[in-house]
Symmetry: C2
Subunit: 122 residues, 2 copies
DNA sequence: TTATCATATGAATAGATGTTCATATGAAAG
DNA sequence: CTTTCATATGAACATCTATTCATATGATAA
């Protein structure tokens, strides 16, 4: 009895197998999408970036404001803003020497909100 | 004119300051909560864990199933399941030699869903 | 008890990541 | 054009993290 698709060697008597496996596999997005999803959450997985995003909830802020507000070096803020921008979570607008940043995606609110709900239920 | 709370050194003419800063600070959760939130997202920020969670969307699975299903070593799966369990995202149930894992929190769906929405809009 | 299997765990290793330091860029003012 | 300021960027470094390997645990069956 050949195994197509998945090779199960030992645990093929008690555990669910081929049909279940196929069912689950069919319902999953492809690897690339799952990878991108993980990459997105990775961006939220840093307290500096979370703080920056939260700060921008209220209104647009310049780099210097964020730096002072959060007590984080300007360089660090700049590096993290770049990551946030690359991931389309914030956008920037230049006004002379000053660059103002603001949120670029409504999902930021909902993603952080969902995370908070989980946190608050512990 | 003294600055209480925040010390602004240079960028205190064009950028918004004390009142805005206070306003934003007041609206932010405390550091510990923001740290916990980042820690939670860090858990979602790994494709192996994302895959495991997705696999469990359908039904409970044993370690061996997950391992075969995703093509990841049993050891790696076990390590990641521990992290997921520590963060109350999955729960386990033992049946003889076999340990079945399933989702432990409805927020898993909503968090991943929110993330997916962002991904799909690029 | 002994053998086998499913799972868990600790140590080691390689790769990723965040901050700092030094410096560059870009814009306004003198 | 030179200076000053706000921001950006690259390199270096320290820390964290995910996987692998070896092995332990816990359970069933012979």
């Amino acid at each position: 009895m050949p195994n197509d698709n998945i090779d199960v060697e030992k645990c093929d008597f008690l555990c669910v197998h081929k049909d279940t496996v196929r069912e689950v596999l069919d319902s999953m997005p492809d690897d690339e999408k799952l990878y991108d999803l993980a990459e997105l959450f990775k961006v939220f997985g840093d307290s500096t970036r979370i703080k920056i995003l939260y700060a921008l909830f209220e209104k647009e802020l310049c780099v210097c404001d964020i730096s002072n507000l959060l007590g984080i070096s300007q360089t660090a803020v700049s590096h993290q803003l770049k990551i946030l921008k690359t991931n389309n979570l914030v956008k920037s607008r230049r006004n002379g020497k000053i660059v103002f940043y603001s949120l670029d995606d409504d999902h930021v609110y909902s993603i952080i909100g969902c995370g908070m709900e989980h946190i608050n239920e512990l």
